[in-house]
């Protein structure tokens, strides 16, 4: 295979026109030849900046070297030292701002496709039947992990590797958290990838009890005092969806992205065989510009809708990953930028009939450093639509904090925890992920899960 060292080996994808009508995975990944060719572009730097860019510090040049050598088992072992969920990270991490963003190759040409290589290793290892090995010795100490999303799974996996007896408590009927209810099938296949990664964590000895809403079914104090857990990690994720508080938001056909995606992903409404009711809009307006907005937009598109993403800033400020925006555009999602909704219109029966917006222009930078949008007076206009999906982020779920004495939250309602070790204000309780930071990414949650595992290990051995 010919390699231009300045350029990434292109990854095969489903044709945009075809994939816009199905829920199969968009990216098809590298085969052996492509992966080894891409791996050959790695300079194996003495001072690997990519590792600094990785929130879980995977020894990247080392695993890529193993790929070059054709030794996938070794590559998988190297990644496994740092990450319990490589097939997932390889797919949904924002590599362009992390490992690949720091890659020396990227200075003059394109960075090494570290994410796609990680995915290749994880997928190939799975096909070869390679699983992580449980520790030989158990230490007999029990740890409870609340939530089976990326933070919880990572924390549980790491603790199990250290010999702890770990039980994850999951509120929903299926494990995986946002990996299961939030991220769609076409970006992260559930049975083939998510379930297998969860099985790998279970193979380390981790138990998962579903249908337990900690704070309601059982309180943290009860887990520690009555059920014999020495420490607890809270990775309960983000919470209540935000709405805009504009007129008409209670109309029929206004959904939070969480509801729309949960119905489609967790409850499988995307599949024609499912009995889950979901509205299949003809023309949907998605409000927001993050990764969740892109997921909602591309899901609605695949259900047959014309889809508009309405975002109040310009393209440069879109918080979504560049790759997601690119994919959405390729598939036919229309972006109405510098546009802000002011009212949702509905017909006599209460169903959404349109959305009234106002044009925006960028003014002075605000506290986030982004130029803040300012309304252009007199520029109101209407977009006809039958569904509006609000994707404006979430505010923390009060369930755990409000039922756990001594667990402090900050002004925004997020659990206060030390970034380095996840330590909260309550003895023996550690926390990380969206429950601490507010809505962020899978990999940051994994990083926090990792830190929490380390913190809990130090606490128990102190």
């Amino acid at each position: 295979m010919e390699v231009d060292v300045m350029k990434k080996i292109p990854v095969r994808e489903q044709d945009p026109k075809v994939r816009a009508t199905n829920f199969e995975e968009v990216c098809l990944g590298y085969n052996k030849e492509e992966a080894e060719a891409e791996a050959s572009r790695c300079l194996n730097c003495k001072n690997p900046r990519c590792v600094e860019g990785c929130p879980v510090s995977i020894q990247i040049p080392q695993f890529i070297q193993a790929v070059k050598d054709g030794d996938v088992a070794e590559a998988y072992r190297v990644i496994g030292e740092s990450s319990s969920l490589p097939a997932i990270c390889g797919r949904v991490c924002p590599q362009e701002t992390q490992c690949e963003g720091k890659c020396v190759r990227g200075i003059k040409g394109e960075a090494v496709a570290i994410g796609k290589l990680e995915r290749y290793v994880a997928d190939t290892a799975r096909e070869m039947g390679i699983h992580p090995t449980p520790p030989k010795e158990k230490n007999g100490k029990r740890v409870a992990v609340i939530g089976s999303g990326p933070a919880g799974l990572t924390c549980a996996g790491d603790l199990a590797k250290m010999g702890y007896d770990v039980t994850i408590f999951e509120a929903l009927h299926e494990a995986g958290g946002v990996l299961t209810y939030g991220i769609p099938e076409f970006r992260l296949p559930k049975e083939r990838v998510v379930q297998k990664e969860i099985d790998n964590v279970k193979a380390l000895g981790v138990k998962i009890e579903t249908d337990v809403v900690v704070g309601k079914s059982v309180k943290i104090d009860e887990l520690m005092k009555k059920e014999g857990f020495s420490a607890v990690f809270v990775g309960s994720g983000a919470g209540l969806p935000k709405f805009m508080n504009i007129p008409g938001e209670q109309a029929l056909g206004v959904f939070s992205a969480n509801e729309f995606l949960t119905r489609s992903n967790l409850m499988k409404a995307f599949s024609p065989d499912s009995s889950t009711p979901i509205m299949r809009p003809k023309k949907a307006v998605i409000v927001g510009g993050g990764n969740v907005a892109m997921d909602a937009a591309r899901t609605a598109l695949r259900m047959g809708a014309e889809v508009h993403v309405v975002y109040r800033r310009s393209e440069a400020e879109l918080p979504a990953r560049v790759e997601e925006v690119h994919h959405a555009k390729e598939e036919g999602v229309i972006f109405d930028l510098l546009t802000n909704p002011i009212e949702i219109l509905s017909n006599e029966e209460g169903w959404v009939s349109g959305i009234r917006c106002i044009r925006m222009e960028l003014g002075e930078p605000d506290e986030s450093g982004r130029r803040s949008p300012v309304a252009v007076e007199g520029s109101e206009f209407e977009i006809e639509c039958d569904a509006v999906i609000m994707s404006l982020g979430t505010s923390p779920n009060p369930l755990i904090a409000s039922t756990t004495e001594g667990l402090d939250v900050n002004r925004r309602g997020c659990i206060v925890a030390d970034e380095a070790n996840g330590k909260s204000s309550k003895d023996g309780v550690y926390a990380g992920g969206d429950a601490v930071t507010g809505a962020a990414t899978v990999i940051l949650a994994m990083g926090a899960g990792k830190a929490g595992a380390k913190g809990i290990d130090e606490y128990i051995n102190a």
């Binding site: 509120a171 929903l172 009927h173 209810y181 579903t210 249908d211 337990v212 809403v213 309601k216 079914s217 059982v218 309180k219 919470g239 209540l240 969806p241 709405f243 508080n245 938001e249 209670q250 029929l252 056909g253 959904f255 939070s256 969480n258 509801e259 949960t262 119905r263 409850m267 499988k268 499912s274 009995s275 889950t276 009711p277 979901i278 509205m279 029966e349 209460g350 779920n397 009060p398 369930l399």
Partner: protein, 292 residues
């Protein structure tokens, strides 16, 4: 897990059935006013249901379900020895009543108004009060004699009044008529809790507002996860967006926007109805009734 230990059919048309289900975590921690979510099987929907009773020692909960669609129909076909795929809870906040000072409660005259299958969640509240030395008044409303449920359970924990729309049992007329009549007879209440169909709660609240009785209602909107994640159960209370699953299910009935809440219930009606027909009638149902 979640095995069905007892099953009784309470009414035939519509079908309302009662089940005692093994659910130790829910039974250990549920309080009056809370609800749970059940899935009949691995492909099932998450259906929010009320808790009618619980036994902490046996680790069981009692549910009362009315068949209204495909999922509840599926549940009605489960029998003793079968298991639900999932029972999760308790969800929502417990009733404010159980947080109040018992001595203060004893001074109050409390009225529960129960309609249809909404009679079930009233029971644990009435029982809790009775166990704490307060005997409440309960009005159960039903269309006719055959649809009055749980009468024997209630008799031992409250002063029970039954009213039927057609007068076939107890008093005659809707629950609002019974409230007004009792009021006219000189009965005075300090607090009212109304649980039943939204339309009933709306009219009870209209009346109690006129009579000046503070009234709490228990809302049962569309829900997916029931833990504050999806926002489907949002409703307007005093002009503010509230989530029934985490802020409720109980709200000040005089501040709830019932018309909007009822409108939102239409959301999946056609979707669900279509599916129910498909399952009931199988291939004979082509979805274009009479036009084929």
């Amino acid at each position: 897990m979640f095995q069905i230990l007892e099953k009784h059919v309470l009414t035939e048309a519509p079908v309302i059935f009662q089940m005692i289900v093994e659910a130790p975590r829910v039974a250990a921690s549920c309080e009056p006013g809370q609800f749970l979510i059940v899935r009949a099987d691995a492909e099932g929907e998450r259906v929010p249901l009320t808790i009618c009773d619980y036994d902490r020692e046996k680790g069981t909960v009692e549910i009362v379900v009315q068949v209204i669609g495909a999922e509840t129909d599926k549940m009605s076909r489960l029998n003793v020895g079968d298991s639900f795929a999932d029972v999760v809870g308790p969800l929502g906040r417990p009733s404010d009543l159980i947080e109040e000072d018992i001595e203060e409660l004893k001074k109050k005259k409390i009225l529960f108004v129960a309609g249809g299958v909404g009679t079930a969640p009233v029971y644990p509240q009435a029982k809790w009060l009775h166990d704490h030395g307060v005997t409440p008044d309960v009005i159960i409303g039903a269309k006719n004699k055959d649809l009055v449920i749980l009468e024997d359970k209630f008799k031992s924990v409250c002063n029970l009044t039954i009213t039927t729309d057609d007068g076939s049992y107890g008093r005659s007329g809707m629950v609002t008529v019974a409230i007004q009549d009792l009021w006219n007879e000189g009965v005075r209440w300090d607090h009212c809790v109304a649980i039943g169909p939204m339309i009933m709660m709306k009219f009870v609240c209209k009346l109690t507002k006129e009579l000046g009785i503070p009234t709490v209602v228990s809302m049962n909107p569309i829900m997916v996860d029931g833990t504050g994640m999806c926002g489907a159960c949002r409703l307007m209370v005093d002009g503010k967006v509230k989530f029934a699953c985490v802020d409720g299910p109980e709200f000040d009935g005089h501040l709830v926007d019932f018309d909007q809440a009822m409108s939102r219930m239409k959301l999946y009606k056609t979707e669900e109805g279509r599916l129910f027909l498909k399952e009931q009638e199988g291939d004979t149902h082509h979805g274009n009734c009479g036009n084929a």
